[in-house]
């Protein structure tokens, strides 16, 4: 089976869907001849032409707003916002507009729109580029939020997103874009939303994460194994819909849980995970659910990012604290 990294997996998903469905188009900043700043759309303009692979003006709100209109016209737009942090310039077109359009039109209209956006720290990018603001969109009902952590899921989840009749925010972990290859089949396949994936089995504690933090948790699990602690790693894959059942079943098995994310701690999605576990399986818990996030300060200069982001050391320490309870 062919090996692909996340960039290649995303490119493969876009290529397959554009080949299969004439309505699918890609639009955003520099997605054409450059192939996107991370090259995820490389080669698409040559294959599908400039009507379906469109370099737009530098204006995020109109990239999203126009995608809504394009969808109403019968196209299937896949918009790229160059970095998730810049969705701030389009926020009103995402939550309030895309997310509510089906309801506001009493079901007459729906918006089959995918917004792709790379995000996350660890690549020494300048300010705003690394912001992990995914939880802000959880408060925007009507939007699905997808956070792949590996090449196989990236392709399957992106195809699922493009085919979903409702708007999807698809966040790509830029730190992992080229970090490794995995088996990714040629041709279209889908990974369903709302199905968390147990990426590592373990008996003592469950590490819950999504996107690039899954990779951190896997490293933490290796480190913990050396100390005799068996840690499972659960990749949520999608925040909306949230796989409450797998989350609760898995954490109930280990009785202990640490949630890890790159977003600032307070009101991050880890709080939602923790509250859900409290409500659903309180009596199966052997210890309080712990959270490890970035600190509650703005993303610092790149030279300081390693001190800001959740680190291997902080995850290991959190697990050890939960083991002591």
């Amino acid at each position: 089976m062919p090996q692909r990294n996340i960039v290649e997996a995303i490119n493969s998903a876009l290529t397959d869907e554009m080949q299969a469905d004439q309505r699918v188009m890609v639009l955003g900043l520099d997605v054409g001849k450059l192939g996107g700043v991370f090259r995820t759309t490389s080669g698409l303009i040559e294959k599908f032409g400039s009507e379906r692979v469109v370099d737009t003006p530098l204006a995020e709100a109109s990239i999203v707003g126009a995608s809504l209109g394009l969808a109403l016209a019968g196209m299937v737009p896949v918009a790229e916002i160059q970095f998730l942090g810049f969705t701030a310039q389009a926020f009103h077109q995402i939550g309030p507009q895309l997310g509510k359009y089906r309801q506001r039109s009493r079901g007459r209209y729906h918006c089959q729109v995918t917004i792709r956006a790379p995000f996350g720290g660890g690549i020494r990018s300048p300010e705003f580029h690394s912001d992990a603001v995914e939880a802000q969109f959880v408060q925007a009902p009507g939007i699905k939020i997808v956070m792949p952590s590996n090449p196989y899921d990236a392709k399957g989840l992106l195809i699922e997103a493009i085919r979903d009749p409702d708007p999807v925010l698809f966040c790509e972990p830029d730190r992992l874009y080229r970090s490794g290859k995995a088996e990714v089949p040629d041709g279209a396949y889908t990974v369903p939303f709302g199905k968390a994936s147990l990426v590592r089995e373990g008996d003592n504690v469950t590490l819950v994460a999504w996107s690039a933090a899954v990779e951190l948790c896997l490293r933490a699990a290796d480190a913990l194994a050396a100390d005799g602690i068996s840690a499972a790693v659960l990749d949520l894959r999608t925040l909306v819909p949230l796989d409450v059942e797998t989350l609760c079943t898995q954490v109930a098995k280990t009785g202990r849980c640490v949630v890890v994310h790159e977003a600032p701690l307070s009101a991050g999605f880890g709080a939602e995970v923790s509250a859900t576990l409290m409500e659903e399986i309180f009596y199966d818990l052997d210890a309080p659910v712990m959270r490890v996030g970035a600190f509650d300060v703005p993303f610092p200069a790149a030279s300081l990012e390693d001190h800001y982001l959740p680190s291997l050391d902080r995850v290991v320490k959190a697990v050890k604290r939960t083991m002591e309870s």
Binding site: A61, M75, R102, K144
Partner: protein, 359 residues
């Protein structure tokens, strides 16, 4: 009259800044609308004003929701709507152009039911090419551009008309929407009703530009100013822009200069900020009276006709309002309707919680 070229439904028309003066006399050299066509326009304008009066009354009695009337702007509302084809063109409203949407095929009882909180009956029927009203000001503009761009990509013979006001032109979405339309040469007409007020904020402090239409130059397409209280001029200017868009000529911006002869909406109190003299002055330019004066001058209008039409239109409006009042009110469960095609499990559970089941 017969010697003069007239504007009719099936003929291209040139842009005209003003055709009919406030005194009901034709501008020298201007082309008036064909008589039947003008009578149709007058009927819609009267319908709009009568509806406004009726529902404001109902709102004051607690029988209608918050409402933004179109009084004073009927020529802009009706003249622009008559310039697009409901069978193939799309209308993207803001919120004050209710009767434009009705002209475009949205039944009056449907849009009325929205003000009564009747969720299901307010759904825009299939086949009616109208988008929902938009009160997140200017958010509809990038969307309208995307719609027009998409229709072009799909090879359809359609034009989009998108409504905005003088206040809305200050929003970032106005700039982004118009800029993208220029770049994509989208078949769209941006119709800006300059009614001088954004709630209580005067057009004078909204922008330092002397004309909103001028802004089109910055986006690489044409902008025209038209007397927005002159239904013939509004029709001609909009129709010329629509024809141009349909032929592949790209977008236009039409600025209709008018005056909001009422409040922003039923919660507003213009006496706190509006000089009564401005209102009195605006009344002398009333869009309906000027057409009636003109039609009277050619023997097509008199007090009897006015009475008869008023009676008919009131009945027509009341029939729609009765249907809306009788329409099915929503169930509590409708809180969950039409959010996702396949709702996440969590929402399914919340739905059963509201229904009295277990969480």
């Amino acid at each position: 009259m017969s010697a003069r070229a007239v504007v009719s439904k099936n003929r291209p028309v040139a842009m005209q800044r003003q055709v009919l003066q406030p005194d009901g006399k034709l501008v020298d050299g201007a082309q008036p609308m064909e008589e039947e066509f003008l009578l149709e326009a007058l009927r819609w304008m009267m319908k709009s004003r009568l509806y406004d009066h009726r529902v404001i009354g109902l709102q004051r009695q607690g029988q209608f929701g918050v409402y933004s009337p179109g009084m004073g702007q009927e020529a802009s509302i009706v003249g622009s709507a008559m310039a697009v084809d409901p069978a193939r063109d799309w209308m993207v409203p803001q919120y004050r152009e209710l009767m434009a949407s009705v002209h475009h095929g949205l039944p009056l009882e449907v849009i009325s039911s929205q003000y009564l909180g009747k969720i299901g009956p307010a759904r825009i029927p299939e086949g009616v090419k109208v988008l929902p009203t938009q009160v997140a000001i200017a958010a509809q503009l990038p969307q309208a551009t995307g719609l027009a761009w998409g229709l072009k990509l799909r090879g359809e013979d359609s034009v989009v008309i998108a409504y905005i006001g003088d206040g809305g032109s200050s929003e970032g979405d106005f700039h982004e929407g118009l800029n993208l339309a220029g770049v994509t040469k989208a078949p769209i007409v941006f119709f800006l009703s300059n009614n001088q007020w954004a709630i209580s904020t005067s057009r004078r402090v909204q922008t330092a530009t002397r004309s909103f239409a001028l802004r089109a130059a910055g986006y690489g397409f044409d902008g025209v100013e038209v007397d927005g209280n002159d239904v013939m001029a509004v029709y001609a200017a909009t129709r010329a822009a629509v024809d141009k868009a349909r032929k592949g000529g790209g977008p236009s911006l039409v600025e209709a200069t008018t005056y909001r002869m009422s409040f922003h909406n039923t919660t507003d109190n213009p006496s706190r900020y509006q000089d009564p003299k401005d209102y009195e002055e605006a009344k002398t330019r009333d869009p309906i009276e000027r057409v009636q004066k003109y039609l009277a001058s050619i023997g097509l209008w008199d007090g009897k006709k006015d009475e008869a039409w008023t009676e008919e239109l009131r009945e027509e409006n009341d029939r729609a309002l009765k249907l809306a009042a009788e329409a099915q009110p929503p169930n509590p469960d409708d809180v969950f309707a039409n959010v996702y095609q396949d709702p996440p499990l969590r929402i399914v559970r919340q739905r059963s919680e509201l229904a009295g089941g277990q969480r």
